[in-house]
């Protein structure tokens, strides 16, 4: 698989939805496969909240790509046929401009001064990326969860620039419960003594404990009850591999491990910024969902998973029903997936077939 990673600079900057201007910014991207001569095989993938530009294959720093089960040679999104692009979202912490990068205007780390970005801003910056790469349109824009919201926003913001949108385990807006969960996570970060109102870089510390707790909570919401039961049950952790003395159960050890791992690699300000962007997104916020989807030209594939209680399948159906009112070619499929909300990340025979057939339809 031909893979290419690069940091692309946008010297003209961007005006954000909030009115804030970034005078310049960078996007870290990864691409797979090759753009064909007619430039008709480009696919943009949008990552979810804690994802990044590294979608497929193994990387010594970033590990296995977040959608490696779906993207690659001969996989559902076949990199032998398609030129697949993904960028680390603006405000993220994996190479693109964000709270943990240097503000070129001040030569200091942005930290808490990095402006709040929105799903709309991400899509706008991805459109700038598309122009930078000389891609006339995307054959498909797809993503799961927060990535699905971006795919939906693409169909609204740039109806002529994509043929298809794959919206998986997503919703037209976050629910009250989603916002509530995110707020608990943010609160645990803010209350970490090392947070310093987001200016922890100035103190040479990171709010690791808060970030860890936030991730542990998040992780519970990504899995289903059944999946947790099957995978961990009420089994006790064996004493040699306990992360700490207080642990009794395997699930505790698992969450401790995942939390630690995440807290070492993710940026706390990015966590707050990304979850806020998720909470603030509402595809129908100005004129209602039906009216907002009116000009969509892309064909939509909306997939939900029975075991997903974070963005349950009915939330995806809201998008399909609103699209149908506008006579938009829109399909809605519910699939079984063992992994709760995270099911969109994993290959199942039916899921991969649906994606594959949608792309070639």
């Amino acid at each position: 698989m031909k893979k290419n990673s690069q940091l692309i600079s946008f010297a003209d900057g961007i005006t954000l939805e909030s009115g804030h201007i970034l005078n310049s910014f960078d996007l870290m991207i990864e691409s797979y496969g090759e753009l064909n001569e007619s430039k008709s095989n480009a696919i943009l993938l949008c990552h979810a909240f804690s994802g990044n530009h590294h979608v497929a294959g193994d990387d010594k720093d970033l590990g296995t790509g977040w959608w490696d089960q779906i993207v690659g040679p001969h996989k559902a999104i076949d990199t032998n046929k398609y030129f697949v692009v993904c960028c680390n979202n603006l405000g993220g912490c994996a190479g693109s401009s964000g709270p943990n990068t240097i503000n070129p205007d001040t030569n200091k780390i942005y930290g808490s001064t990095f402006p709040q970005v929105s799903v709309e801003d991400w899509v706008k910056s991805q459109k700038m990326l598309m122009d930078n790469l000389n891609i006339p349109y995307w054959e498909m824009v797809a993503g799961g969860s927060l990535g699905g919201m971006q795919a939906l926003q693409w169909t609204i913001a740039y109806p002529d620039k994509l043929k298809k949108a794959g919206i998986f385990a997503a919703a037209p807006k976050s629910s009250t419960q989603n916002i509530a969960m995110n707020e608990v996570a943010r609160e645990s970060i803010r209350k970490d003594k090392n947070f310093h109102d987001g200016n922890y870089h100035d103190h040479d510390v990171i709010p690791k404990d808060g970030l860890k707790t936030a991730r542990m909570l998040g992780h519970i919401t990504y899995l289903s009850e059944e999946h947790m039961d099957n995978r961990f049950g009420r089994r006790f952790q064996n004493s040699e591999s306990k992360m700490n003395k207080g642990i009794d159960y395997e699930i505790e050890n698992y969450l401790q491990y995942k939390g630690d791992q995440f807290a070492e690699s993710f940026d706390a300000n990015s966590y707050i910024l990304m979850t806020k962007a998720m909470d603030n997104y509402d595809a129908g916020k100005s004129k209602g969902l039906i009216e907002s989807l009116k000009n969509i030209k892309a064909k939509l594939l909306i997939v939900g998973f029975y075991s997903d209680w974070l963005y349950p399948p009915e939330r995806g159906k809201e998008i399909q029903l609103a699209a149908m009112q506008n006579n938009i070619n829109s399909s809605y499929v519910i699939l079984t997936g063992d992994h709760g909300h995270d099911s969109f990340l994993f290959h199942t025979d039916k899921y991969s077939k649906i994606i594959r057939k949608f792309i070639t339809s």
């Binding site: 064909k299 159906k317 009112q325 829109s330 399909s331 809605y332 039916k350």
Partner: protein, 196 residues
């Protein structure tokens, strides 16, 4: 779907209308309607393999168990709803019929005729009908609400549903010469265009 049946339905579908096909299978009828009549078509199907085929054809499809409700489609303003060879499988065919007519101006319903002489012969021999058109045994059939042409038309009258047009098909799925003379005895399948 048999050619004659799909031709009959096509004749009843106005150009550029908005159509929903309950139990759309692999989406063949909708695909034809999309190409020949420029319809905005949506299929409703529960079988995953058939759903995949719809998507491969570019036919919009919604995964849903029709028995669990079709109310949610009411806001979408359909011109026509179609239920081909499925109404006898539902728990409440009469409710489904009324709902279809509240979510679309007209609806097309096709159903196997239990009054067909071969079915009657089976029953006269003391057995539940098993015919080429109704091939399953009583214990494994999905057809839990079979009826005759007469029964169906009585239901329409009781529910104040107008039969705009109807066609009767013989065992070869054609409009046989004599089929429409005594449809309740000679028709294998009834095809109805309804309005309320």
């Amino acid at each position: 779907m048999a050619i004659e049946l799909s031709n009959i339905i096509k004749d009843w579908v106005p150009n550029k209308s908005k159509v929903i096909d309950f139990g759309c299978g692999e989406g063949s009828l909708l695909k034809e309607l999309m190409i020949e009549k420029n319809v905005f078509g949506y299929g409703v199907e529960i079988n995953d393999t058939k759903i995949q085929e719809c998507i491969a054809k570019g036919v919009a499809v919604i995964k849903q168990d029709i028995d669990k409700g079709i109310n949610e489609f009411e806001s979408a303003n359909f011109d026509l709803s179609i239920m081909a060879r499925s109404i006898q499988c539902l728990k409440n065919p009469n409710l489904a019929l009324n709902r279809m007519l509240s979510l679309s101006k007209r609806c097309v319903v096709t159903l196997p005729n239990l009054g067909y002489w071969k079915c009657r012969l089976n029953i006269m021999n003391g057995k539940m009908p098993v015919t080429p058109e109704l091939p399953s045994s009583w214990y494994e059939t999905e057809n839990i609400h079979l009826c005759t042409i007469k029964d169906f038309e009585k239901l329409c009258a009781d529910e104040k549903i107008n039969i705009i047009d109807k066609v009767f098909l013989n065992k070869n799925s054609n409009r046989g010469k004599f089929t429409s003379i005594i449809p309740n005895l000679l028709a294998v399948e009834g095809v109805y265009l309804l309005e309320k």
